[in-house]
């Protein structure tokens, strides 16, 4: 597979994975990342094996982008014992540190200080691994972000703050979540490098994230990346949509997968048939994923007391 097609392929896998999951009746409810695939994939392109990514509850795309096994991830989300956490974490809390995905934590803002702790271990351990923490525009209201930014800066922690500004926190638009003109102004207050990037453009994401990753990896302390993206579905699979059909239709035109497909077509890097084949590949892969997950049972009720202490 050519490098030029890799990001699109990864984004398509996330989309197919989440669509298949959403179609299941037995998924409980899920927080999907449709419209935000370029953020997860672009960022992951510049993270390395020894790095760790942490996220809020919207974790599926980022986990896949980091390389968590899709079958084990699906099993996790469907509550099966073959899941990365034996089906007990679910979307809000899954982790697979061996894949460089240290974990989701569904408390908005709550994972940011945790990520700084992981970064502290990286720093004291002496390797050159770094940590990235992905949080939303909504999380920019939470005090934990600021406390952690401050400490991470004072301590020169190898931590990249990545704000996935998908313009919404449940029903609350970005403007009502935070008074800062740009969310990266939060980083500016602590005098660290910041950038604002088009989070719908997977290559721009990789480029700008790469620059900040380099800063962080060089030991100069944290940096703050604001990614402007879109949430193209409702907050969760059971939440009410707050935007009109028309508005959503307009927004869908900016889908990062569409944009990247169009770019590749225009630049003659792929044909329509090639795109179709890629989509079919992803669909086939997800069929296997589903088969794997479905082959795995739910845990026994007796497991309820396992791993408490």
């Amino acid at each position: 597979m050519s490098d030029a097609l890799l990001p699109l392929r990864r984004m398509m896998l996330i989309r197919a994975f989440e669509d298949a999951l959403a179609a299941r009746k037995d998924h409980g409810f899920q927080l999907l990342s449709t419209g935000e695939e370029a953020v997860a994939v672009g960022l992951s392109l510049v993270l390395e094996d020894g790095d760790q990514l942490l996220t809020g509850g919207r974790s599926i795309g980022p986990a896949l982008a980091r390389g968590v096994d899709p079958g084990k991830l699906m099993a996790e989300l469907l509550g099966r014992v073959a899941g990365v956490n034996r089906g007990r974490a679910g979307r809000g809390h899954l982790s697979d540190q061996e894949s460089g995905f240290f974990g989701a934590h569904a408390v908005v803002g709550g994972n940011i200080s945790i990520a700084a702790g992981v970064a502290l271990e990286r720093k004291l351990g002496g390797g050159n691994g770094i940590v990235a923490i992905l949080f939303g525009d909504g999380a920019s209201g939470a005090g934990g972000l600021y406390e952690t930014l401050n400490i991470a800066t004072l301590w020169h922690l190898p931590l990249l703050f990545v704000c996935n500004n998908n313009q919404l926190s449940v029903s609350t638009p970005r403007e009502a979540s935070n008074a800062a003109k740009e969310l990266r102004d939060i980083g500016r207050a602590f005098a660290i490098p910041t950038a604002l990037v088009d989070g719908l453009d997977v290559w721009a994401m990789a480029k700008v994230a790469g620059e900040l990753v380099e800063h962080v990896r060089s030991g100069k302390g944290p940096a703050f990346l604001e990614c402007s993206s879109l949430r193209l579905r409702s907050h969760s699979t059971t939440a009410r949509e707050t935007r009109s059909r028309d508005e959503l239709a307009q927004l869908h035109k900016l889908c990062p997968i569409k944009l990247e497909s169009a770019r590749l077509l225009t630049e003659d890097q792929i044909t329509n048939a090639g795109l179709e084949e890629m989509r079919a590949d992803a669909a086939r892969q997800i069929e296997d994923v589903m088969a794997f997950a479905d082959a795995s049972p739910y845990p026994e009720p007796e497991e309820v007391l396992a791993h408490v202490e």
Binding site: G87, R88, G92, S171, A176, P299, E303
Partner: protein, 328 residues
């Protein structure tokens, strides 16, 4: 007085909450609501449907995701003379607002020598419904140990309506607790405006062999259990605490004196739990009776459907405990 006072109307639990808030907002312009998604969205459980249209964004205030500041702002506004209803979507995140609630609001009257108080209501939801380890907890037992704090937890639309109204009129602070599974429950609510005073338990079902004391969603589990056990000729009385602090020890004592046995039931942990306090207060008053406490198993509540169901009490587990208790 008209016959209206005996008329009832059918509504969902979430509607009963909304009605109480609407009436109190109409009657007292110091009442306002603040929290995440309480405005145009109508509340995470649609419990404020329609209120934004009536009262607008000044009185139905969306906040950013900032529980600590939200509770603090509500507490300060209350101290300054407003009557805020602060909505914390999940009780797990009330912890984030504990400093303002517990270290400031609950102690304000005391520390000011009675010169200030914080008539603030925090409305939150407890309990498990597939949302996992950080969205399922029941920590009301911690709250009832805080001097100066009142805590209520309705199990029916009628009580949601009446207790919310009392809460908004109280000189608080009050924590009013919904349960996620109750919002879609229908029930009869008086047509006439009524309030339910704090500190009054309700006997939901009469029985002679043992008393089950529960609150919130677990009252329904208790009633289901009582239904099951009827077939076995075991007659359970079911008492709904409704108000946890203050607690209606009188009603509890009378029931346990009649039945001679106590089963306490809660969705939270039994360790230092509500049930243990209920039993202690009853037995301090009337002497010891056979007692079993039932609650969540000592584990976090997973979003996994099998593990969640295994962790929190259900009618089968309660029935099992009741049979053991009856045999004592």
């Amino acid at each position: 007085m008209s016959n209206d006072q005996f008329l009832t109307t059918r509504m969902f639990f979430r509607e009963a909450v909304g009605r109480a808030v609407r009436e109190e907002m109409e009657a007292d312009d110091r009442v306002l609501v603040l929290g995440q998604d309480v405005g145009a969205f109508g509340g995470s459980y649609r419990e404020f449907d329609g209120l934004f249209k009536i009262f607008g964004p000044e009185r139905m205030r969306d906040t950013p995701v900032a529980e600590a500041a939200a509770v603090g702002i509500a507490a300060g506004a209350a101290a300054a003379g407003l009557r805020p209803l602060c909505v914390i979507t999940y009780m797990d995140f009330l912890m984030i607002g504990f400093d303002a609630l517990i270290n400031y609001a609950a102690k304000l009257r005391y520390k000011s020598g009675g010169r200030l108080s914080a008539p603030l209501v925090v409305k939150t939801t407890a309990g498990a419904q597939g949302q996992g380890v950080a969205h399922s907890q029941c920590i009301e037992a911690w709250l009832i140990s805080v001097p100066g704090l009142k805590v209520v937890a309705p199990s029916t639309p009628e009580d949601a309506y009446g207790l919310m109204k009392s809460a908004l009129r109280s000189d608080g602070p009050v924590v009013y607790i919904d349960h996620k599974r109750l919002f879609p429950a229908p029930g009869n609510v008086p047509v006439a405006e009524t309030v339910i005073p704090f500190g009054k338990a309700a006997i939901r079902r009469r029985g002679v062999d043992l008393t089950i004391v529960a609150h919130s969603y677990m009252v329904r589990v208790a009633l289901e259990t009582a239904g099951l056990l009827e077939a076995e000729d075991l007659s359970c009385e079911v008492v709904d605490l409704r108000s946890l602090a203050p607690m209606d020890v009188n009603t509890l004592c009378r029931s346990v004196e009649r039945t001679g046995r106590l089963l306490t039931l809660e969705e939270g942990q039994v360790t230092c739990g509500i049930g243990t306090e209920v039993a202690t207060r009853i037995f301090e008053r009337i002497g010891v009776r056979p007692w079993i406490r039932v609650g969540a198993l000592p584990a976090p509540v997973s979003s996994n459907p099998v593990l969640e169901a295994a962790c929190v009490p259900n009618a089968d587990r309660v029935a099992q405990a009741a049979r053991t208790l009856a045999a004592r």
